[in-house]
């Protein structure tokens, strides 16, 4: 039972890591997207 609890704890931490990792990747993507913007709109400044 102790082993099961430990495994569950580790699984929870890894699941949290996966969720955070995906959110981090999405946040970076969003930041880059904002800085890159879409060429269509950025070119209005010329």
């Amino acid at each position: 039972m102790l082993a099961t609890s430990s495994l569950a704890l580790v699984a929870g931490k890894i699941t949290q890591g996966i969720i955070l990792g995906l959110l981090l990747a999405l946040a970076l993507l969003h930041l880059f997207s904002l800085s890159g913007s879409t060429p269509v709109f950025r070119y209005q400044v010329f």
Binding site: K13, Q16, G21, A25, S33, T38, Y43, F46
Partner: protein, 347 residues
């Protein structure tokens, strides 16, 4: 009264017994509680896992989104079916792929309404290229700058067999370093190339060095179009038209460069870039290239003279409308004819 007792337990009672004594009920609640604790409480392991997942996502993109992959699936990043820049990116990347050896005629430069190429004109030009089959590839975009043309030319392999017609426009010859800087930060086409990197260096614009990885070198282009890719992917799943919801906002007028910071003072620099572009075409051992001059406007005599100088020095053909009122529509077929004819002679 005699009662018979069966030695075998009844199936139902056995199932009930096993249910009673299994450790599931006893262990699942603490296990779930532990899982929830691991899921909600901060820990070093989850931070490490987050870093690994983010790095893996990046590594996957860097290895998966290659130039070859983009040559096949580049339309995934298109805002809509009328997204010229995405189409040109995909077509240009496919130039580096092995072909059947048929000569190709590349149309480069400005995609202007006065020099549209009809399907009839394309097939006539291809027919002129002689017995062997030739392919005309239209790689023009609205107000294509010389730097963008350079990056397209860089995609061709050494020993590329074919010709090129470069349609020049005033905006390309008047664009200053601010436009080059803007194109580096917010590229319209996903073709970062060594020649453009050298041009950035010449213009003293700091840029990240080329990493020889398509995803890394073109991340600005790809990430700016990530929403389109997401939408196109979801539309593949749902079966809706690709990027139909946002296709309408990409129009030709929107993609044209505005009329702001352009000066004749950049003419010398841009003509030098044009000279290097033509040299690049010749380095690639192309059979014949032609230039189509921009439409005539008042006070551009110097430009015309300089274009003629470049054409004479480099041994390429120059086509221009004879007077200010005539359209360039008639000039482009002549240029294509000349290049097609030289393909026939060269074959």
């Amino acid at each position: 009264m005699v009662m018979t007792v069966s030695a075998e337990p009844q199936p139902d009672s056995r199932f009930a017994a096993s249910r009673q004594h299994a450790p599931i009920d006893g262990a699942s609640v603490p296990a779930l509680r532990e899982f929830w604790r691991g899921l909600t409480q901060p820990s070093g392991l989850s931070v490490a896992a987050a870093c690994v997942v983010a790095a893996a996502a990046f590594g996957f993109c860097a290895n998966f989104v290659t130039a070859d992959w983009m040559a096949r699936h580049g339309d995934l990043f298109a805002w809509g079916t009328d997204d010229v820049h995405a189409a040109v990116t995909q077509k240009a990347l496919s130039l580096a792929m092995p072909t059947s050896g048929h000569p190709r005629i590349l149309l480069l430069g400005d995609l202007a309404s006065d020099v549209n190429v009809s399907a009839e004109l394309a097939s006539a030009a291809v027919a002129k290229a002689g017995e062997q089959k030739a392919r005309m590839i239209d790689l023009r975009t609205p107000d294509q700058t010389l730097w963008e043309t350079l990056s397209i030319v860089d995609q061709t392999r050494r020993g590329f067999e074919g010709g090129a017609v470069l349609v020049l426009c005033h905006s390309a010859l008047e664009a200053g370093p601010d436009v080059l800087r803007e194109l580096d930060r917010h590229p319209r086409i996903g073709l970062h190339s060594p020649s453009v990197f050298l041009e950035l260096h010449r213009a003293k614009i700091t840029s990240s060095p080329l990493r020889q990885n398509y995803f890394v070198d073109n991340h600005n282009y790809l990430l700016a179009r990530a929403p389109a890719a997401m939408m196109n992917l979801s539309s593949q799943v749902t079966g809706r038209t690709r990027a139909s919801a946002i296709a309408g906002r990409h129009t030709e007028s929107e993609t044209r460069l505005g009329g702001g910071r352009r000066h004749d003072s950049h003419l010398d620099t841009n003509l030098a870039t044009l000279d290097r572009l033509v040299e690049r075409l010749q380095q690639r051992q192309w059979l014949r290239s032609a230039l189509v001059a921009p439409p005539r406007k008042a006070g551009d005599d110097l430009l015309r003279r300089r274009l003629k100088e470049i054409a004479t020095r480099r041994g390429i053909l120059l086509f221009e409308a004879t007077d200010a009122t005539s359209s360039r529509l008639g000039v482009l077929p002549q240029a294509i004819d000349a290049v097609s004819g030289s393909l026939r002679e060269g074959s």
